[in-house]
Subunit: 157 residues, 2 copies
Amino acid sequence: MGKEIERKFLLNHTKWHNINKTEGKHFRQGYILTEPTKTIRVRITNTQAWLTIKGISVGASRLEYEYEIPLHEASELLDNFSESALEKIRYEIMHQGKLWEVDVFLGENEGLIVAEIELSSEDEHFELPEWIAEEVTHEKKYYNSILTIHPFKNWSY
Amino acid sequence: MGKEIERKFLLNHTKWHNINKTEGKHFRQGYILTEPTKTIRVRITNTQAWLTIKGISVGASRLEYEYEIPLHEASELLDNFSESALEKIRYEIMHQGKLWEVDVFLGENEGLIVAEIELSSEDEHFELPEWIAEEVTHEKKYYNSILTIHPFKNWSY
């Protein structure tokens, strides 16, 4: 069983580019199912792949079930069962004892950078790094499932 | 990767009841996704559970990917992500060197018995057991994904 509690933020790009970070990890991911109440994601890195089922968001929480699957099958699943995929580089940053995952999107979503922090409860306290800008936890357009269909480069301002 | 080639038959119930068979295995299964082009199934036996992704049928063939998952998670997935589930007892019968899987449906589908044989090619030869009646491989109403939504007891004759 999984319950994922996650908050999501945009970044100050200049400050982000100036911090020290270790090498990121390349992700390619697509969705077999994108519904308001559930999504099924296939995610591939250079060495591993996962199938992930997520439920509807209630506040910052949602049910999540994740299974590692063979890399070549994940690639076939993306080719045969998902309409589109997105690519991003994920960086992991520790700040005040908490892990931040920062996704620098590529391709159709280039220019978008999003930071996520996973919490163990909705009201857990955490410190915002100085490179964090506004919170976008509840904005659906930043869902990765939505970004595959309606990518950043097609957004109007 | 999986490619499943399967043919499906109705049975002569009297002949079926009269043959010797070992004990069947109880299955409870539901669908997270039922689309014409793809289905995602959760199946639970007494001791094991699987998540199975199947593609569109082309002739008697379809893509199939199956992953074993923890039993308690499968049960949560059925409760949270599938609209309905079906139950059946599966019997395995060897006939002329080939394995037949016979599903005796329960609950809303009681009265329905369906036999399946898995083949390694579309034109593979096999002998029909004497308890087999007509073939229903291409009849969608016998798809388990359809039987969960439109069960046998609601069929009109």
